[in-house]
């Protein structure tokens, strides 16, 4: 099986600080891969470079063999590599449904002029978008609140909405930015199920996360970063027994990595 996404010796320097140093790993099709690490390990930087929100200092990211690093974010999104944000990044003054409908933009085959004059294709597109938006909302259990203003939603729903927006773009690989941050146990378990569901739809998932129990439960494979370098890669079982990883998480605080 060839890799869907390939991170090849990516390095990022901010002035004198090296945030990511020579990081390489691959993501296979239809797997859930988590990138974990203590605070300041460089997870977010790596995440932003994969989605082209940051430029790499050296190294490259390949998607289906083509370079996607250092392009404009919307071009990367068009190729099928779509990121989500943490909860505050949604279209606040739109309803939940409008958020998801607008996120279908990528799937549109009609240009903006077509929509302006109201061509027939634009019309079928719009109808299709609305149908598909409702399907996604149903899938993420958001149907009941589809008419609510996004700014009024509680955190758990916001996170699900973020995933819904991501799904609406019809991604090949969805990059999730700390999907479980700030959630209690129940909310986390529900979101874990959602993310597994996303994978079952045929979407590969790469997530960056703090919450160890959730990561151990959900991931097929895990990449561990510490001080900007990759220190381990493997299945959850392998990672749990990795000496270096335990040490990185202060060694003594075993329960913080779910041991």
């Amino acid at each position: 099986m060839s890799a869907l996404l390939e991170v090849k010796s990516v390095t990022k320097k901010f002035g004198g600080l090296t945030a990511n140093k020579d990081i390489s790993f691959t993501v296979q099709e239809k797997e859930i891969l988590s990138v974990i690490g203590p605070n300041g390990a460089g997870k977010s930087t790596l995440f932003k470079m994969i989605s082209s929100f940051l430029r790499t200092t050296s190294g490259e990211v390949l998607f289906k063999g083509e370079r996607i690093s250092n392009l404009a974010p919307h071009i990367v999104a068009r190729r099928g590599v779509v990121r989500t944000f943490q909860e505050t990044t949604i279209f606040k003054s739109m309803t939940v449904r409008e958020n998801v409908v607008i996120a279908h933009h990528l799937r549109s085959k009609t240009n903006l002029l077509g929509f302006y004059v109201g061509s027939r294709r634009a019309h079928t597109d719009e109808t299709e978008f609305r149908r598909s938006a409702d399907e996604i909302l149903e899938f993420l259990n958001l149907s009941e609140i589809s008419g609510e203003l996004a700014s009024t939603l509680p955190q758990g729903h916001l996170r699900a909405l973020g995933i819904a927006i991501g799904l609406a773009t019809d991604p090949k690989i969805l990059l999730l930015d700390e999907p479980f941050a700030g959630m209690n146990h129940d909310e986390t378990m529900r979101t874990v199920e959602l993310v597994s569901g996303v994978r079952d739809r045929g979407v590969t998932v790469l997530l960056v996360e703090h919450d160890m129990p959730a990561v151990m439960k959900i991931s097929d494979r895990i990449v561990v970063l510490n001080f900007g370098e990759k220190i381990a890669e493997g299945t959850p079982q392998q990672i749990q027994q990795n000496e270096q990883v335990i040490e990185a998480y202060l060694g003594s605080e075993d329960d913080s990595i779910g041991l």
Partner: protein, 316 residues
């Protein structure tokens, strides 16, 4: 429909009855200013504060004036040309400055009006501070020998003709804007206004969309400016100043940022409000600004939000 009858039949009839011919000029100005304000509104809609519409109105005005007086181009042709000229100009200017956000973008656009004025003063073709005067009235517009609009200088009531011209363009402009806002482009503009990062992550080419919106905005500014020149038959570097740019913005604020027809209502209210306060003499500016501050505090979403609020209540 009521609106159409209102502006095309009722208003001329009322003016006929009252004999206040000067109102034609006032209303024509309002119509033209509201076209330029509609442009400003669109830049607000993508989340940018635009205080530079005066620059494009001036540029459009000069282009029309120069073409008509020196190259004898038909005035009718100069209207779209002025718009296109401003649109192209704004693309060049917009490419670097649209990367800025919030108050930084606002500051630059504020400077634009001043730059436009200084340019007009310096260039030989604009005739410096003396401006361009005695511009002929619009000539005949005919397509395939058929006269669509007669020569304005042969008309006995030029004011009425200009009124119809301005109002027609205003209607076309706002119909176009309404369509735009309710089409996909409008939705995308809204997504841009609310969160540019998220918009680009769902595949929106934010640079192109921003520049398109700004170009449309400037197009409207140029169109408004070119007709103004035809009415006053003259243009000076001071025809559109920073104060005018700010007024365009105020029109939008007062009318309501969230409503397409906001700029139209805002222009009417501000223009007539200012004139009504003329009675108060030296207190005019004081009262005017106090009322504006009060409006901003009490109806931050513009006057149109009031009407919608009431309407919602009745429905319940």
């Amino acid at each position: 429909m009521i609106f159409f009858i209102g502006v095309f039949v009722l208003v001329p009839w009322l003016i006929e009855m009252s004999g206040r011919w000067d109102y034609y000029y006032t209303l024509t100005s309002v119509a033209l200013l509201s076209i330029a304000s509609a442009g400003v509104w669109l830049t607000f809609y993508i989340g940018r504060i635009n205080i530079g519409q005066g620059a494009y109105a001036l540029a459009g005005g000069y282009l029309s004036a120069v073409l008509v007086t020196q190259y004898e181009v038909s005035f009718w042709l100069t209207i779209p040309l002025a718009g296109l000229f401003c649109a192209v100009l704004s693309m060049l200017i917009g490419l670097p400055i649209l990367r800025l956000k919030g108050v930084y973008f606002a500051m630059i656009t504020l400077v634009l009006t001043e730059v436009a004025k200084l340019t007009a003063l310096a260039l030989p073709i604009t005739n410096g501070a003396k401006g361009i005067v005695s511009i002929p009235l619009p000539g005949e517009l005919s397509v395939f020998g058929m006269t669509i609009i007669p020569d304005f200088s042969t008309l006995e009531n030029v004011k009425l003709a200009f009124y119809y011209l301005a109002v027609t363009l205003m209607v076309i402009c706002f119909a176009g804007m309404y369509r735009l806002v309710n089409s996909r482009m409008g939705h995308l503009c809204r997504s841009l206004q609310q969160n540019e990062e998220l918009a680009s992550s769902i595949g929106v080419n934010i640079t192109t969309l921003r520049i398109t919106a700004y170009a449309i905005s400037s197009f409207l500014g140029g169109v408004g400016g070119s007709i103004f020149v035809a009415i006053s038959q003259s243009i000076y570097p001071t025809s559109f100043q920073v104060a005018d740019s700010i007024n365009f913005m105020l029109n939008v604020f007062v009318g309501g940022l969230g409503y397409v027809f906001g700029p139209m209502l805002g222009t009417v209210v501000i223009y007539f409000g200012w004139d009504l306060l003329f009675q108060t003499g030296k207190f005019q500016l004081l009262i005017y600004s106090s009322i504006l501050i009060l409006l901003m505090l009490t109806v931050p979403n513009g006057l149109l939000s009031l009407r919608l609020f009431k309407w919602n209540k009745e429905k319940k």
